[in-house]
Symmetry: C2
Subunit: 344 residues, 2 copies
């Protein structure tokens, strides 16, 4: 990663170069934005001091030139979900000291129209939760759970990336619904965590193959619903182990994001989609923007009732944002990975 | 294929040996069943002279030992859809001369309880149609079209195996709904047929790759609904060419049925399921048995109104059943492949 002299009060993280295809710290540059880039606020604007930066696997897609959706532009700041505190307000909707979330550039402060931000619905909770289990990742579990999973008591559910921000929520929702829930993750610590969260069993894919892990856990049962965060070999091992009319929810395929086209895993067991009458549904949670507020309300209630435990990995310091983003793809997070860059 | 002296009035086709994995005529044996295997009818039974035998791609699955569904047993007659005429009746529901369809063994005559058979809803139409466009294959296009396709005027639809029994019906239904419809098939004759049926364009996958064929036909447009009969390379080429929220209906994957596990095509473009928010739905039409009668009624109306043309390839003679079944996997059929074994 390029070393540039940084004014700590005006730090920013730029997208410097595209991964080839493995994401590394060299893809980023930490620098300072010019002091005069933040002008006097206009009516309706707020100045937000950023306190928490969300790093998410979906951002790997922003590093590609894709035909859909937003991309990160080389030489421009990375963008994503963040939390902050209002330090100056020319909006009737926000007072100084309000904790907010928003979507914006990775930098120390952001001046923007007030509607770019949303007040935390509960100012007493940690803002990081609204980037995790009570925010986009939580909604990415909750909404497809409601829309696609059809999970009922007695169902067998499998979640890959189960110790991640989304998988850990989905698994707990499935347990709440009375399902038997299995998970996969990449370390023994994570397996322990999953059992603490109520998963019935879990497999460390670095110690046993997805097929072996599934056979051991399932003991001959079939999977009614698979929540896929990883794709690749795990998804291929799932197909023949799905029950008739089983549902596969495609949330992400993180095992494939940093691979060259020729190295991507080739799925061979897809004929089970026909023979077992499976459904697969891919989704991106922002398609359901209008439903997120209610979803967050529901998730807050579940947490308050002790029925849902959002898991977080908090790293401190803006200097660590690039390293923390890279670590996501090395599976170093438990639950939601957030970088705390300032106090609220 | 074993040559055995056959009494032509008592022919039967046995499943002799499993394919390894390519299906050949050696998988079958033509023989005679014993004269005394058809006993005097009991009350409620009918004796049916078989007139038409349906050969279908799904039967390839019956040759495997799968965990779900029916299989063909070595040394026993093959089974499947057939049409016939009642030659003796001890049922109040059937008179001699009634044309019927049913599901049963591949043999000259079948004595069975009357409820095993269904009278053709229109005795003036060719019984073969009720094994094709007005029967199981027609329903396999009509019901998923209604349940999964969400096709509306202006949509772009792609059908593989488009000149087959199911694909040719699906494509016409999509055209009736106002979609732009493209197809793929394996001969120039079939491409000509597809254009006669109203397809906007079609590609011969033996002359251009699925990716090239799609790019040429689409001219930059994206696919809203893909009806997949072939799987493999074609399905993989479709993923990146799907529109946001596109629907893939998995009817069959005939390109993969006769391949060893290690030779099966590995799908690499599946991450588009997430990024383009795709749905995939596999189905087996027999899951919707209760809806088939209405579907057939609807299909008969479409044919009568000149809005649907069922295409058939009729081969004559029971001796040709094994050869005709094998020919299915070599793409030698246009529309529904049926073997006529006797006059009605």
């Amino acid at each position: 990663m390029a070393e540039v002299k940084v004014d700590e009060s005006r730090w920013q993280i730029l997208y410097k170069q595209a991964p080839e295809p493995m994401v590394t710290e060299d893809c980023f540059e930490i620098s300072s934005y010019p002091a005069d880039s933040i002008k006097a606020l206009e009516d309706g604007q707020v100045l937000v001091k950023v306190t928490h930066i969300s790093v998410d696997p979906y951002m790997r897609g922003r590093m590609n030139k894709t035909s859909y959706g937003q991309v990160w532009n080389i030489g421009q700041p990375c963008t994503g979900g963040l939390a902050g505190v209002v330090v100056e307000s020319k909006s009737n909707d926000f007072a100084v000291g309000d904790k907010v979330t928003g979507f914006g550039p990775w930098r120390a402060q952001i001046a923007a129209p007030a509607q770019y931000f949303k007040k935390l619905p509960d100012q007493s909770l940690s803002p990081s939760l609204f980037l995790g289990g009570l925010g986009m990742p939580g909604n990415s579990a909750y909404l497809p759970f409601k829309k696609f999973s059809k999970i009922k008591a007695g169902d067998v559910v499998f979640v890959s990336g189960a110790a991640g921000a989304v998988g850990s929520i989905f698994g707990q929702l499935a347990k709440n619904a009375g399902a038997t829930v299995y998970g996969s993750a990449g370390s023994d610590d994570k397996i322990t965590l999953l059992k603490e969260l109520g998963f019935d069993d879990a497999t460390n894919y670095k110690k046993e193959s997805p097929a072996d892990g599934l056979d051991r856990m399932l003991g001959g049962k079939k999977i009614d619903c698979y929540f896929d965060n990883v794709g690749g070999e795990t998804l291929d091992a799932v197909f023949p182990r799905m029950n008739l009319h089983g549902r596969i929810i495609c949330c992400g395929m993180i095992s494939q994001y940093n691979l060259k086209a020729e190295d991507k895993y080739g799925l061979k067991n897809v004929s089970h989609i026909v023979s077992s009458r499976l459904s697969l549904n891919g989704f991106i949670v922002s398609d359901w923007a209008s439903e997120m507020e209610q979803a967050t309300t529901d998730l807050i209630e579940l947490v308050a009732a002790g029925k849902l435990r959002p898991v977080e990995t908090i790293v401190e310091g803006y200097q660590n944002i690039p390293k923390t983003f890279v670590a996501l793809f090395q599976g170093e997070n438990k639950g939601k990975m957030v970088v705390k860059v300032a106090d609220s």
